[in-house]
């Protein structure tokens, strides 16, 4: 029984950690939907956002103000990207756009470090990374408060975004733009404000993901590498699907933890580093378009 409990614990911890991958993946999906660009810089955006947030806090801004200022900053970054990088590259091949966003990632990482310094910052959200007592009492499971909060915050954000896209005029506009930007703008859908909204949403998602990770491991450059793990998540979930990003994140989170705990010791541990990618390869062999992605049809 205790072994089973332990298994559940591992899975739950994995799922909750997976929501953080989901959040980063969600940022990718948002931009992909709106401007059909694979924004490789999303990981750098996570780092840029949370480092700026911590920087503003160090200036003495209150939590909420710092949060809002950072989001405004991210929206600005997004607009600049749209205007200066993506617009001149319209109609270029997907690979070219991808390279450009890799470049953008470097710009953001460099700017963040030049502005705020390179040392590891601590981020105290007032939520401890230790098990919650009443859950231990009632079920016997050891589940970290930070994991639980991250899971709840991620779930709230995801539901809010899903509602926004499903039921508002803006969301309808976004879906039209995702389908065919030319047709959408010709019937009077304001491309500019749609893009602003999408980049702001991606910025919020990046900031929240960064805050959760930063609270656990410190705000540091390694966040960029962690965010790379959102790539296998996207492979599993599909690039254009919000539910796909969520479920992909959960699958990666849980599988990686289970493998690490039960299989890792036979191989000297630390297989978390590559297990998600190998998992993604197996998924690719089975379903190249991801769980929820649209089927890719290619013609000569």
């Amino acid at each position: 029984m205790t072994e089973f409990l332990f298994f559940i614990e591992v899975v739950v911890a994995g799922l909750l950690a997976g929501t953080m991958y989901s959040l980063v993946a969600l940022g990718f999906v948002l931009i992909y939907k709106a401007s059909s660009t694979f924004n490789f810089a999303q990981g750098a955006m996570v780092f840029f956002a949370v480092l700026s947030f911590v920087g503003f806090m160090e200036w003495g801004l209150p939590f909420v103000v710092a949060f809002l200022v950072t989001i405004a900053l991210m929206a600005l970054v997004g607009l600049a990207t749209e205007r200066l990088v993506l617009k001149p590259l319209r109609n270029q091949s997907e690979d070219t756009l991808l390279m450009a966003t890799i470049g953008l990632g470097f710009v953001l990482e460099g700017l963040a470090q030049a502005a705020w310094g390179v040392e590891v910052r601590r981020l105290d959200l007032g939520i401890g990374d230790f098990p919650i007592q009443w859950i231990i009492d009632s079920t016997g499971l050891f589940i970290s408060a930070l994991d639980l909060t991250a899971g709840l915050v991620a779930a709230t954000l995801i539901i809010a975004l899903a509602l926004l896209f499903k039921y508002t005029r803006m969301g309808l506009g976004l879906r039209a733009v995702a389908d065919d930007p030319g047709a959408a703008s010709s019937i009077g859908i304001p491309l500019g404000s749609i893009m602003l909204m999408v980049w702001t949403a991606a910025g919020i998602v990046a900031l929240v993901a960064g805050m959760m990770w930063g609270a656990r491991a410190g705000v540091q450059f390694a966040l960029v590498d962690l965010a790379l793990k959102a790539l296998p998540v996207l492979i599993i979930g599909g690039f254009s699907s919000i539910p796909g990003a969520i479920i992909g994140g959960l699958i990666i989170g849980a599988t990686e933890k289970v493998l690490e705990v039960y299989i890792g010791p036979f191989f000297g541990g630390a297989i978390e580093g590559w297990a998600p990618y190998v998992l993604a390869i197996f998924f690719l062999l089975w379903r190249p378009e991801g769980l929820f992605g649209e089927k890719i049809i290619r013609r000569v």
């Binding site: 460099g110 492979i235 990618y277």
Partner: protein, 355 residues
């Protein structure tokens, strides 16, 4: 189809270029450059990284497969050579170098398999697996490092036919010979039917397949040869430049650097690999020197390295927007402009004579 061997299709310009570069590399530089610093800190790493960039160029620039894991294959080559020299020293350095390239090539085939199903960003993620897996494997299994407790291994001295090559100039010559041979090989491959198949697959794989080119063979061949180049490059990089190394020296950052060498240098050109490698290697040196000259140490070194990142990023974006074919194409354009101006001048002179 009747095919002539590639070496018979060399033009006089090709041979002239080769001659000039050979004289420059083997005669002029050893006579003109006296300091060890230039050999061990600039020329040797430049040649090694250029070789790795050629590997990246083959898989990405010619075969059009977006792979991001060159450093993983370099690590495979480097540690393979270390183990071969340790365990099979009687084979000799040249044989072991080729074998270590083949070890990397085997990994290349293995991790190139996903390319048969996926492309673009999907493939990039799949190849990232190779990067993380190879480094993890070397890191976790002590055998690869001869159970060295520090985790850092020291490369053996290079001995070829009983002669030691340990001075910077000697090692430079060893690297230069290897790079020359492999570069000529790469140029021949890209000009021959192998390279045409790669490019056909790059430009439109479905069309290439319907013309009878085997995608399986072509793609895996590209991955294998690319990994072979990277493996040899990594082995040389470790044995002549790093000398003592741990797997972390070949992390994802190095893969990104090699990717940028290819992008900035120019996709689909061999010369682009050399130009890109020179730029990526020298640019931080120049920026650091400039930073010290202008600010006299008032600006922190970390700030300068951050600015370096920004400038790299901006350059990549600018190249993607204005010249997706990179510096090699830029150079071609300059040459073409000079030639056309010269052509215009001569035709003007002729016109004057006619008047």
């Amino acid at each position: 189809m009747k095919s002539t061997p590639v070496f018979m299709s060399y033009t006089r310009g090709d041979l002239l270029n080769l001659l000039v570069l050979m004289v420059l590399g083997f005669v002029l530089i050893p006579f003109v450059v006296p300091t060890d610093y230039w050999y061990s800190s600039i020329l040797i790493p430049w040649l090694c990284l250029s070789l790795a960039a050629i590997g990246q160029q083959i898989v990405m620039g010619y075969a059009g497969q977006l792979a991001l894991g060159a450093a993983g294959f370099m690590a495979a080559g480097a540690f393979a050579l270390f183990n071969l020299e340790l365990r099979l020293p009687f084979l000799g350095f040249p044989v072991n170098l080729v074998l270590s390239g083949l070890v990397a090539a085997a990994f290349g085939v293995l991790f190139g398999l996903p390319s048969l199903r996926v492309r673009g960003i999907y493939l990039m993620v799949a190849t990232l697996a190779s990067q993380f897996f190879i480094i993890w494997m070397i890191d976790k299994f002590g055998w690869f490092k001869n159970y060295d407790t520090s985790g850092i291994i020291t490369a053996q001295d290079i001995v070829i036919f009983g002669r030691e090559f340990t001075a910077p100039l000697e090692m430079y010559l060893v690297v230069l010979v290897v790079v020359t041979i492999l570069t000529i090989l790469a140029i021949n491959m890209t000009r021959g039917s192998t390279g045409r198949n790669w490019m056909a697959v790059r430009d439109m794989d479905i069309a290439a397949e319907s013309m009878g080119i085997s995608l399986l063979k072509t793609k895996l061949q590209a991955f294998a040869i690319s990994a072979f180049f990277c493996g040899v490059a990594g082995a040389l990089f470790a044995f002549t430049y790093l000398k003592s190394m741990e797997p972390v020296a070949f992390d994802i950052k190095l893969s990104f650097r090699i990717l940028f060498m290819v992008i900035l240098g120019g996709l689909g050109t061999i010369s682009g690999a050399f130009i890109g490698a020179a730029f990526i290697l020298l640019f931080p040196v120049v920026l650091n020197t400039l930073g010290n000259e202008i600010f006299h140490g008032m600006v922190d070194a970390t700030i300068i390295s951050s600015i370096e990142l920004v400038v790299f990023g901006v350059l990549i974006i600018l190249f993607m927007i204005y010249e997706p074919l990179g510096m090699a194409k830029l150079w071609e354009n300059i040459k073409a402009r000079i030639n056309s101006r010269r052509g215009a001048e001569t035709s003007m002179k002729q016109n004057r004579k006619a008047d």
